[in-house]
Symmetry: D2
Subunit: 379 residues, 4 copies
Amino acid sequence: MSQRVRIGMIGGGQGAFIGGVHRIALRMDDAFELVAGCFGRDPKNTIATGEELGLDPARCYPTWEALIEGESRLPADQRIEAISIVTPNHVHHAPAKAAMEAGFHVICDKPLCISQEQADDLASTVEKSGMVFALTHNYSASPMVREARERIARGELGTIRKVYVEYLQGWLSDKLEESGQKQADWRTDPTRSGPVGALGDIGTHAHQLLEFVTGERVTSIYAILDTFVEGRALDDDDMILLKMANGATGTLCSSQVCFGKENGLKLRIFGTEGAIEWEQEHPNDLKVTGTDQSMTTIRTATAAAGEESASLTRTPAGHPEGYLEAFANIYRAFARAVRGQDQPLADPFPTIEDGVRGIQFIGAALLSSEENRWVDIPD
Amino acid sequence: MSQRVRIGMIGGGQGAFIGGVHRIALRMDDAFELVAGCFGRDPKNTIATGEELGLDPARCYPTWEALIEGESRLPADQRIEAISIVTPNHVHHAPAKAAMEAGFHVICDKPLCISQEQADDLASTVEKSGMVFALTHNYSASPMVREARERIARGELGTIRKVYVEYLQGWLSDKLEESGQKQADWRTDPTRSGPVGALGDIGTHAHQLLEFVTGERVTSIYAILDTFVEGRALDDDDMILLKMANGATGTLCSSQVCFGKENGLKLRIFGTEGAIEWEQEHPNDLKVTGTDQSMTTIRTATAAAGEESASLTRTPAGHPEGYLEAFANIYRAFARAVRGQDQPLADPFPTIEDGVRGIQFIGAALLSSEENRWVDIPD
Amino acid sequence: MSQRVRIGMIGGGQGAFIGGVHRIALRMDDAFELVAGCFGRDPKNTIATGEELGLDPARCYPTWEALIEGESRLPADQRIEAISIVTPNHVHHAPAKAAMEAGFHVICDKPLCISQEQADDLASTVEKSGMVFALTHNYSASPMVREARERIARGELGTIRKVYVEYLQGWLSDKLEESGQKQADWRTDPTRSGPVGALGDIGTHAHQLLEFVTGERVTSIYAILDTFVEGRALDDDDMILLKMANGATGTLCSSQVCFGKENGLKLRIFGTEGAIEWEQEHPNDLKVTGTDQSMTTIRTATAAAGEESASLTRTPAGHPEGYLEAFANIYRAFARAVRGQDQPLADPFPTIEDGVRGIQFIGAALLSSEENRWVDIPD
Amino acid sequence: MSQRVRIGMIGGGQGAFIGGVHRIALRMDDAFELVAGCFGRDPKNTIATGEELGLDPARCYPTWEALIEGESRLPADQRIEAISIVTPNHVHHAPAKAAMEAGFHVICDKPLCISQEQADDLASTVEKSGMVFALTHNYSASPMVREARERIARGELGTIRKVYVEYLQGWLSDKLEESGQKQADWRTDPTRSGPVGALGDIGTHAHQLLEFVTGERVTSIYAILDTFVEGRALDDDDMILLKMANGATGTLCSSQVCFGKENGLKLRIFGTEGAIEWEQEHPNDLKVTGTDQSMTTIRTATAAAGEESASLTRTPAGHPEGYLEAFANIYRAFARAVRGQDQPLADPFPTIEDGVRGIQFIGAALLSSEENRWVDIPD
């Protein structure tokens, strides 16, 4: 990549988690230069973070509005070209919209936003502005996830019948938010997380991954959103029965009170002629059941893996890549899009459409859980 | 065991599967002598099976009624003491009832029978007759299942919150019953299997195991019984959301159309202070999450395993016991009960109560699936 | 099997381990009737054991010599046809020899005996007497071991290049023999175990399995026999470099001081075009590397497993069989041989030849370790 | 880190593998700025690589000598502070020596060099120059490797008795070097790789890791260096028996002809009171056998993992880090050393001492293999 994309960041100050992840991801392939930021609501934190990152203090802005305004005033060859938004959910919509309207490409953390109205508005903004918009459903860029998708797309599993998807964590088994832990704090606060907790934080990942891998839409769900930890304002446990456009059925469970579970995102898909299984915690193993019913482990970067997954790796077989590398794959593809370069893969990163579908999914789950009935999701 | 229990068998002729399993199980610990049988509806098969088993032809009876009658007429020191019933589901109730009324102890394959009326009648017969009645929910006698139960009973997991139970097979992914395969044939036939297919065949195992291991009752369910293979008369796929007496919730999925799955019975239980996981296909590994969130594999017959599980093993650590040995554990405990001997364990085998609860579970699932609503199960 | 083989047992009294295993194995398929025994050097133990087993006290003999003599005097249709020898190593040769000379078939625990002279003498006795002689290298009868052998025999791995074999246990990490534990006691005593400890007890299993599975002979070894626990008279740890007839090389490690290891027999074989891996503790998983370098798990009794392994199973896929079932496979094949029936498999059980090779292997290892040099083993 | 370390690179032009890895590693934590390079012997490749990396063409030098000379002439606040050497083995010694003598810190790929003389000379250069010298035995910076080391250091395993170390790959099973594949080409060429092939490339990793984790030195070895692929000039398979300073013994096998193996570095260590097992391909799982003989999986970044490993992670539990992150850990620690900052860990990266020991190990193995005898390695 001949020239790095100049990028600014909103959110991700000292003490945050995902901001650091985004920064490693954008550095990994040398496709970006981070040159500006508003790393949070506290200008001191922004200044300190900027200093640590070697930014020009003049480009460490006290508010995200100032960032957009200030950068817009810089000469075209200096100002940022793109903005990375890594704030809590309630601060996705406004800066993303403003950024695109100001002519900046946007890469945004998930879920897209906190209401259907916001989602529709962003979709419309993307369309009107013509800017590139990427949503960091990072798991979809894991090589073996693409391998699974490629195999399903070419019919290796026959017709999909059953799907079992789960995203189980245990870190909110206790009332961690009371300890002041920053991640727990905002995720359990409706004013910042939006109307759902676990479902938005991790359930949407599971939903996006399921649709991405199978190429089929979830069209109807029956959801129980539950809260196990007393006094918590949002769901910390979700159980969802689902139907897909092609007639497949299954379950999607997301929970943050499964004691001891780390980051247990797991996908199992059964067709009429084969099956696949993938677990995020061991991302380089894709288990594929063939027509003779034996189970083969396809490993990242081996001869048995296809070209799609190969394009997402940096090292030879047996040199495990993981969470950060998948995240970086999203950033690398985003940079190519910003530069107008060819992408080696179709659907190189999750887009506004994934974001909108995630918000629709959340809305349907809320309605289902409240009214105790199946709710359709537009296809 | 000083003297073998004389036992007769109903069902299990040449071509059957589970009859052979029961015979290996009863032989394993030398606690029984198989001396009589009616191995099916075809007297020729019974004669041939009896000959293969070295039985006295005079004690190979053309009907199960003849078996009970014929054996009853023999002198007390010769006639059978117990009867093993290994027929399809619709031939459980009548011979079990008649056997107990004739003074024979009964060990019967699951599910108990095919209707609530039959179940209640058998419960009443057990009570009136005073005979020993065992139901071969064999997985509950696997050493590491007992280990799990022991740990939960002593509070190692704190309060149970979440349970995920599944029993996934793939052998009915195609319409195997059309090939004449005997196991598929009767299991998909409502006249022999009863009102449910997969749910009775494997779902009841999962339900029994869940209640056995947790010591908690499933009190309410929302079930979707589904049929994926066209033209099949019974469910081949079930998805159930459930609530337990103590407030725990979870999912129970049983399916016979999960391509490539062999005999995937799996139990995951999360409490407020720990978690356990057990898979039937690797029965000697119990995965236990401790308070520091690390996962320890407790292995059968090791120093780390408790006394309950130890009493169910025959070999030292690392010498894998499996399906047949667990089955034999049920038979061994049944023999002790017949002999009136002390049992090393409480609840040494599943009883009529497990059977009745299984039928209640089936009934509730049917109702839920038909009426699209949550249905309670009496505690 | 129309008529059970009448069998007697030498060794295996109360308190022994392997005797019980042999008895379960001979019962499993109903091919034997245990009717006589000398269960140890203590006649009281023999009487008590016989009583527990329901034997006629007249056929519970005070010495093995008496057993052979007493049974020989019985009418042909009553006396035993075969003898199972489950004593410590130093009491294999004499009773096996005497038994065969008296016209009894023999099934004997491993290692064959404690010296090359004894081994040669037994080989000669087998030949002269024409009796069936089986050696219970039980692991070779595990279905997935046969599957591995079948695949290698048909060239699936190309030319074998590298073999890594290990049999690691931890139960002798402490000086368990001082506690009076019976198994540790005789295995660490040169007068009963013979000139080697771990090497004879488990190293010979590994060696036999390697040759059995690959179809290639180990022709030269460099061995270090070591003792880690102070005061122990025999080796408790062995490291062996080896060369095979076809040019393959590898390692064979057997140890009983690998803390925490249960019964870690593991075989890895790499050829020019494929590879296999098998672990005894998870015996139903055979890992096969194919030409595209992906790794497929072949499971017992599945469609992907071949006919050889299928003939060694009793239950459908996913119903795990284990140590006892493999042991029973040896007994079942031995019964067929005694009855002169067809065997479904070539090389249905380990024979005197395996026994002799094991003793040669021990001899070569001792010589190598003492003289610090490579030692050839006759092919 | 307030200011990035200005670094230059020798080797790693387009087509190379490890150069790209080093560049990702140095970027990951934003601690370096790559500003100069001589990326290979072909100046055109260097220019092209430099352009791709966005370097000033004036600092893309035609030879490594020119790089050192050219940078030395720049003002102190512009010239590089450190040099990364990622060339084939035969071009380690000279540039490393020259770089340190010119006042540049050095981070160098392994093995250190190709002869004992070179190794000693470099050790002396490090001492005289006072420069920081790091060797990228990257696996030693994997969090769970540090966890293993920490546990062993505090005595959790008791006294180490047995070690089994292996590094098995399959990529050189065929004569890949004939295809022109760059990695295979130089690694099998004695003029570039030095006197050994697989042993230098991967065996030294295994050796370094063993000593690093146990804190014990390998003091004596018996080695067989072998070549399986016809016409190959260097070893592609090594088997080594070893003794350690404290009396432990074990095996170390490195091979590049184990068909299908990817990058199979595995470490198993057994003590008198515990054991550990670690596999590079699943780097976030450390298997620890405790005193009750159960096996616990300690996972990166969980509560059960200690502080040492925690300091080497960037993401929470369940977000797998891998090969590149471990590599980056070396670079991050190197940057701290260059800056004279405190290190959170003792022994933060492998040093010249590890390099010298690796070369001694290679020398001893060569001698042992040639003379067919045990060879001591100075402690």
